[in-house]
Symmetry: C2
Subunit: 356 residues, 2 copies
């Protein structure tokens, strides 16, 4: 039997996690929110791993957030029983049957932002009284969600169809415009939720939950917010650093890669390309990631299995093991089946591929 490879001799590219850093990140966020009286419901789409979500839970997360019914199924099967699917979905008959099934073992919340979506949900669920609806509000990202003033009418429509309202939620994703945008986005989230909550009250409906918070904004949310849903904070990435939301020593996951070519002058090439780092660019930074070991070395171009790093001076020789901090860790994790760890077995990314 072959001995398992060490970090040094394992074939690259692989996704490496530092569990101590991840645990520290989990603790900092949980403690900070607890001190502010805000519940933590981390978005597990970042890591898609029931093992990592357990760490978040023991350190104080009250329930989790997911993006798809498939993710909800994986986490509920692993014993998580308080789940929020935080976006509007279009519910097919099969999806409705799955939701009905899941409400037998978990408190399940789902986002809505249209009368038509609500209608379809109410018509297709057999156990519609067992699910809780959250009305999505647009607080400035302009992606999904109704205007705060329209929350009450939509909530009333839900109630009229026999659906229960838990509250209102928003995602202040416009915080990612730059470090100067974070505080404003956090204030927008808080204000939009308070306006929406009043709109519900005006229609005789209580909003128990006011849920907001991306990783950059979670610690700046205002008074009325009851719940935060950061995801990226557990692992962090280059965008979080650029936003001032994390330091380099708080980055818990990197892509391990090796130099495979130095043949073209002015650059070297590593074996992490768009299938290992994604080709996701960012308005905050140039390129697709930076090399942790080499000051100023940025992955400037990617093809599928090549990361091209512009570099003046003597490039590191072929075979050199390097680590890239990617732009956006959530979409990078989505490319892998497991996290490699330094001291223990790999951690399975058990909700990978659950797109629906």
């Amino acid at each position: 039997m072959r001995t398992p490879p060490t970090l040094e001799n394992r074939a690259t590219p692989y996704l490496l996690i530092d569990l101590e850093v991840a645990e520290a990140n989990a603790r900092v966020m949980a403690d900070a929110l607890r001190n502010r009286g805000i519940s933590l419901r981390p978005h597990v789409k970042t890591h898609k791993s029931t093992s990592l979500a357990r760490i978040q839970r023991v350190l104080g997360a009250d329930g989790i957030t997911v993006a798809t019914i498939g993710e909800a199924e994986v986490f509920i099967a692993a014993g998580f029983d308080d789940i929020f699917i935080a976006r509007p979905l279009w519910i097919t008959a099969d999806a409705a049957a799955k939701l009905d099934q899941l409400t037998l073992s978990a408190n399940l919340r789902i986002g809505v932002d249209s009368r038509r979506g609500v209608q379809s949900l109410a018509e297709q669920l057999q156990r519609r009284e067992s699910i809780e609806v959250m009305v999505e509000i647009d607080s400035g990202q302009h992606r999904t969600g109704v205007h705060p003033s329209q929350a009450g009418p939509l909530a009333l429509h839900c109630q009229s169809l026999g659906l229960r309202i838990a509250g209102v939620f928003t995602h202040g994703g416009h915080s990612y415009a730059g470090p100067g945008a974070v505080s404003r986005a956090a204030a927008d989230e808080s204000e939009a939720l308070e306006t929406a909550s009043r709109s519900l009250e005006d229609h005789g409906i209580a909003a128990t939950v006011l849920s907001a918070g991306s990783s950059p904004t979670a610690l700046e949310l205002g008074g009325g917010v009851t719940e935060a849903r950061p995801g990226t904070y557990l692992l962090n990435d280059r965008q979080q650093i650029a936003l001032g939301a994390a330091r380099l020593d708080q980055v818990a996951a990197v892509v391990a890669t090796r130099v495979i070519s130095t043949a073209v002058p002015g650059q070297f090439v590593v074996d992490a390309g768009s299938k290992a780092l994604t080709a996701e660019s960012s308005s905050l930074v140039e390129g697709y990631g930076f090399v942790r070991e080499l000051d100023g070395a940025v992955v400037t171009r990617v093809s599928e299995h090549h990361g091209i790093i512009s570099y003046q001076g003597t490039p590191p020789p072929e075979g050199t093991l390097l680590h890239v901090v990617p732009n956006h860790i959530c979409t990078v994790v989505n490319l892998y089946d497991q996290f490699i760890t330094q001291a223990s077995d790999p951690i399975t990314i058990d909700a990978r591929g659950h797109l629906t």
Copy 2:
């Protein structure tokens, strides 16, 4: 037992393939290259599916091209016995053991572009005489590969270490600069390989194989080229259309998605975001894909589970099933476990995740 979902009621997003179109694409490329006396060795990283590679094989492919040892393992296990790993790799001890094993069941070729890479390969392989080396040449993409004039010295180094030389290869990826760049890139590929081949001859080494050809350039390769390695042509995508290398009716794979939100004016939102379409932009086109059913509707922004489509006029209502032609199908396929088909069972993407 629940009946399997139809295309209409299946949960979205999913990756839909039209097998008739793929077969037609496979046939056109195979016939055209045969008529030109050039072998076809398709790059299967595009589809990562042994089922689809079988179609390419029966229609005339002579061997296949892969990007990783893991892909080689999957295809060899499925009976493919002539494989070219078409890039420089850094070979760990484990990787060398795998290559040795694979040469027992397949003709295996591997790319090299550095003395150090060659040295490591020769030192670690137990069965070094069973593998064939291809020297990579830079024909203008400036990614990997030696200058054509340096091919001979590197090939000689390989020979001195007991490695066998099959020939030289290049990838004219600079064809993707635009429709005007395709013919020039094809000429560059041909010229670079001929120069490299002469460089080998000058060092007393015969280059049997001169291998080139991306999907846009494959049908414009010059006389000396013996083998073409297109990949994308089987499925096609938005970039191939923009380059003039494919028509819309030759696009064989699209992402099926549904409208989930029309709440924000001037746009609608589908459930295919960067985890379903990638966030890969292109210098050839705006955005991340276009909607096949709606003239001028482009996915202008993506977040992980949201595709935002700027749209003036009445948006299609929530629940509408749409199909997006993505920018680059190879990285999109990499996100899925299967292709959904219209008339038969799903096709497994059996080499998905084999990054190393």
